[in-house]
Symmetry: C2
Subunit: 732 residues, 2 copies
Amino acid sequence: MIRYFFITLFTFSLSMTFTVAQEAITGFVTENAKKQLTLEKAFEAKLSADNLDQWMQLMSAEPHWVGTEYGEKNAKWIEKQFKSWGYETKIETYHVLFPYPKIRVLEMTGPTEYKAKLTAVPVEGDEFTAQGDALLPSYNAFSTDGDVEAELVFVNYGIPKDYEELEKLGIDVKGKIVIAKYQGSWRGIKPKLAAEKGAIGCIIYSDPQDDGYVRGDVYPKGAFKNKTGVQRGSVMDMPTYPGDVLTPGYAATEDAQRLDRKDAPTITKIPVLPISYEDAQPLLAALEGPVAPNSWKGGLPITYHVGPGPAKVHLKLEFDWQLKPAHNVIAIMKGTDYPDQWIMRGNHHDAWVHGANDPVSGMVALMEEARAIGELAKKGQKPKRTLVYAAWDAEEPGLIGSTEWVEDHKAELQQKLVAYINTDGNGRGFLGAGGSHSLQKMVGEVANAVADPQRSVSIRERRMALDQVRGGNDKFELYALGSGSDYTPFIQHAGIAALNLGFGGENSGGEYHTIYDTYPHYKRFKDPGFAYGVALANTAGRITLRLANADVLPFEFEQWHSTVSGYLDEIMKNTESMRSDVEKHNSMVDKNLFELAADPTKPFKKPEKKDAVPYLDFSALQNIMAELNSSISEFSKTDISKLSVQKRNDLNKKLMMAEHKLTSETGLPRRSWYKHQIYAPGFYTGYGVKTLPGVREAIEQKNWQEAQEQISKVAGTLGEFKKHLDKINTMR
Amino acid sequence: MIRYFFITLFTFSLSMTFTVAQEAITGFVTENAKKQLTLEKAFEAKLSADNLDQWMQLMSAEPHWVGTEYGEKNAKWIEKQFKSWGYETKIETYHVLFPYPKIRVLEMTGPTEYKAKLTAVPVEGDEFTAQGDALLPSYNAFSTDGDVEAELVFVNYGIPKDYEELEKLGIDVKGKIVIAKYQGSWRGIKPKLAAEKGAIGCIIYSDPQDDGYVRGDVYPKGAFKNKTGVQRGSVMDMPTYPGDVLTPGYAATEDAQRLDRKDAPTITKIPVLPISYEDAQPLLAALEGPVAPNSWKGGLPITYHVGPGPAKVHLKLEFDWQLKPAHNVIAIMKGTDYPDQWIMRGNHHDAWVHGANDPVSGMVALMEEARAIGELAKKGQKPKRTLVYAAWDAEEPGLIGSTEWVEDHKAELQQKLVAYINTDGNGRGFLGAGGSHSLQKMVGEVANAVADPQRSVSIRERRMALDQVRGGNDKFELYALGSGSDYTPFIQHAGIAALNLGFGGENSGGEYHTIYDTYPHYKRFKDPGFAYGVALANTAGRITLRLANADVLPFEFEQWHSTVSGYLDEIMKNTESMRSDVEKHNSMVDKNLFELAADPTKPFKKPEKKDAVPYLDFSALQNIMAELNSSISEFSKTDISKLSVQKRNDLNKKLMMAEHKLTSETGLPRRSWYKHQIYAPGFYTGYGVKTLPGVREAIEQKNWQEAQEQISKVAGTLGEFKKHLDKINTMR
């Protein structure tokens, strides 16, 4: 595709001509805005793609999951780099439970026999895939031990609506082993829900339609998952609490008091194992019973049946449960003016195998950013606020390193930490930015100042072009944070403003959590020239420096308000459509339409009438949102250029506490670890966010009493937030 | 699945308890309505599933495409039966061009070699599939002869929007051979469009996702298409004109003047061959170039690429072009009161191979209906109007038998024929009824009087249950007729009111036009007990008898008006959204959003701005529809019980001419054979209907001047229709 290669070069050269509009930037008085933009230019000029490339080769040379020698080696090497760049460094180690697979058996015992291979093959042109026993066997961390044999049932993605479909077919998974496709939810939801439904085992496989040859050519010819690739990953019940399963809510220090493993609530109730589509095909092909609904069918050359059976499978799993040291690298650069106001950056360093993309591609961008800032500091351009860089360990098994550290330092963080900015694996394409919507305006301004490496526009313009081509609007918006990386303990547990940044959309692959996430794969299919690694360092670095040097911290609440109002409207609309859907359903049941429309020769369970959806009283939330609106427009009138330095400092002390006012100490129902009242991972989605989670999930679960209680609770929390803003308003 | 089998039996027994509400029926004065319903009950009581079963075994015992000995044998046997039932019979034979495949070669000549097998395998348990050379080789009738070799391009379904997608990818099929999936349009559109785009050959295959193992277990284990099955079928350019390619618009009698074959406009411009998915897989797997868009991907275990090449294929086709006799069986029962008012029923008898489902399942239902009516007649219960039953030959290659017959008798038919009622292959499940909307009310009343064989409700209630469960409304509606069976020459060429009837939705299979459409397949997967065959005879027979005996022909125009008004609204709305889509597209082109959103490393052709959509003047159509509304409500006031017999007779003479007023002698642009101004098959869909076709297609093709001309033309036709209704109104 030589001709397209030229296009690339061409646009690269064009992008050099990109210039930033020297506009006013939120939080800076005019003269300091100029200084800041000059500083950011100097920072940008120091970023080098070669460093990212070389560091990736070093860090991803060997597997480095938590507790490995190479993982510890990486941690020490990272610390050494930070020290050499002028940071005070330390390694804070926690002792966390981590299971290593001793026995993995999956076999079909009837009607025909098949023994699952459970091994991905080495491929030509990628020596790293040939490291044999050094590679971590494929498994799901925090599956319980187990030895079960039963008939198999295919449950599509194994999410709630799939079990509704099974019920229509009159199929029960009680006492069965389920096989679910990866995707459709975070993987940990699949065994959790299967166990709730009475299944005794769970198999998860990557279907070629979602993650294999249907998407594109497979590795090594192309980027996608070949028939032997297996996605590893944690199935710990993170929506209840992440981090060490034995020390919920407190740090897993050497001498910490620990739960008994049998009492640890976040270990799965049933054994679960991930497999390749090569291993899944004979199992699925041996199923009979109803043909799977069309939307369930995958890309294997078979007729997908649901079962149960006649395929019978035996699943045996045994793990070596040990405490392993998780080494968090912490690097600090003291602020010149406000040493007790911290801006924190983090990315994890542990991987499932080599992790060239996940997490090293993000880690090396963070390091290059820190190096450039260090150089500026050496030349006297030190940040006004304290910068804290973190390289987390044990993220993959369940955000463990970051969670234990936050639990350990919670009080101090709630006093000093202004914001936490997270990165993780990075790729080529478009900026994806999520987080606290009080930071949306500032992030949008930074995105406007960073050139896209391939097109002669800013990364903000390019992102918005994509959104519009896809039918979206022309606003720059942060997505709401669910879970899936190390921002979770900061925002959702400690109530600290957080961001998550990364590029993607033009990289492709099926390497995620497999032995194929290697340097050669990354260079071919992700971000070959590390141009977007540099763009990430540039974006995250500018955000960090703006927060570090702002005269008044760049929190803005009008965009926050319109976003949260949008969440509330959405929930009220959803409740309305739930009501009309139930009414329609019930009248169709009354008229017996479902039975009349059903094929008498096929399985059919007559649907039952559903309870009517009551009218909820949303007024408490509607009123507080209205009151907040006036407090916020009042705050927006603030002219920081007219404020004395003393007033600015007072203001900053209050502003950095605002996000915490959005939390409730009692947390969410049945998962008090999650304190934030605006953002949480879904109890039945895992990574997928639920906004205004207490209210939204109660409604989705049709728990009307709890829904009404949560409306008051969230309204109360927002009331505290309003009081805080009103206090700020009196201080200007 | 024993427990569901019981359910079936149960509902069968229930259905016995079904009783018809003795309501008034359109077109009958009260006393005659009672008589008619008694007659219909007597008719229904005579219908026997055993006859259908035995006759199917006989007629589908051997392949019987046009010109075969067995086809002629079937025709003579059908005639004999009708004679024995008291009908005057004749066989009217036409001499029509029919190509038989002499040479069929498809091979991949590079980068690897593969020779297509082009043969479906015999399967266990179905002796008919083992008849070897007696089976018609798989091919597309009316493909031109050809010998071409070129690079291959995958074009999805090969319909207009697929070529738009190819253009975005910068891929041209000029000088290439295209491979297209079956479905998405009538097959003949694929080579027609490919030739328009400059391709030199066309391959059509059945993808397992649409027609194979993805849908369900394959034959003989299940009903669906196994890897060797191939769908035969005509690719004659039927949207231009159906019937004998050498005698457009007139009958192919022995001595008719014929076009030179090289001048026949409805033979394809490029060679085209259908193949199995077993033969398609190596060809598709050898393609490179861009990965196919997601919506293009099928069910084969490969990565679908678009090409062009490197796969290079050689396609060689040679046919034996001969005139073959097409034997139409015509059976007549003279009406007692109105011998010159005919009600006609028809179904074709020719098949591609054995045709147990297509057409025999419909043919045997028609015959059982005729037998029962014959018995009643022998007992003195003769129809008031003349019944004409037809068993058409040569439907499969292009509606040839029926088209030549209609062209031959056009003048007489336009004088005498009240309505034509068509059937074709039939299955288990739900009534599907299409046709002239002036008959919708009557058909709905009949559907209300026929019991569903499996559920204790009418076939109308069951159909409407399905519609509502699928989110539709609770009205009984006829679909508009496109093409695909023998009603086309009647309604669209001769302008005679027509209906098309059949059951389906609970039968399944991939046997269509393959060697697997056999009696064993039908008995296992279609309508095992022929209960729906009987229901079809019952439905079509009651409709026939109502039309035959009505005091005033049951044409009703209020439902017609709301339906046609709906078509007009739809067209106006489509024009509006075309306009806003173009405006949105152009502003996105202006902002360069498409380029900014595109991956610079992938093929990308910058979209061009489109011409603005002008505002059309629809007022002529809106006004005439408004005027029609008052004429129609006036007509609806008619109280037939107050009309003298003389007046009724005068009224009937006019009413039977009404449909013809919806035609224009000059027909549609570029296809004058199609006279009807409300219904036509789409020029680029083939079978799929286009309502108000002149206007709709001009707009879809962005031919604005023609659109405006067609608006006047259709308004003029509707004006004639209104005059006719007004004359009728003066006669009551």
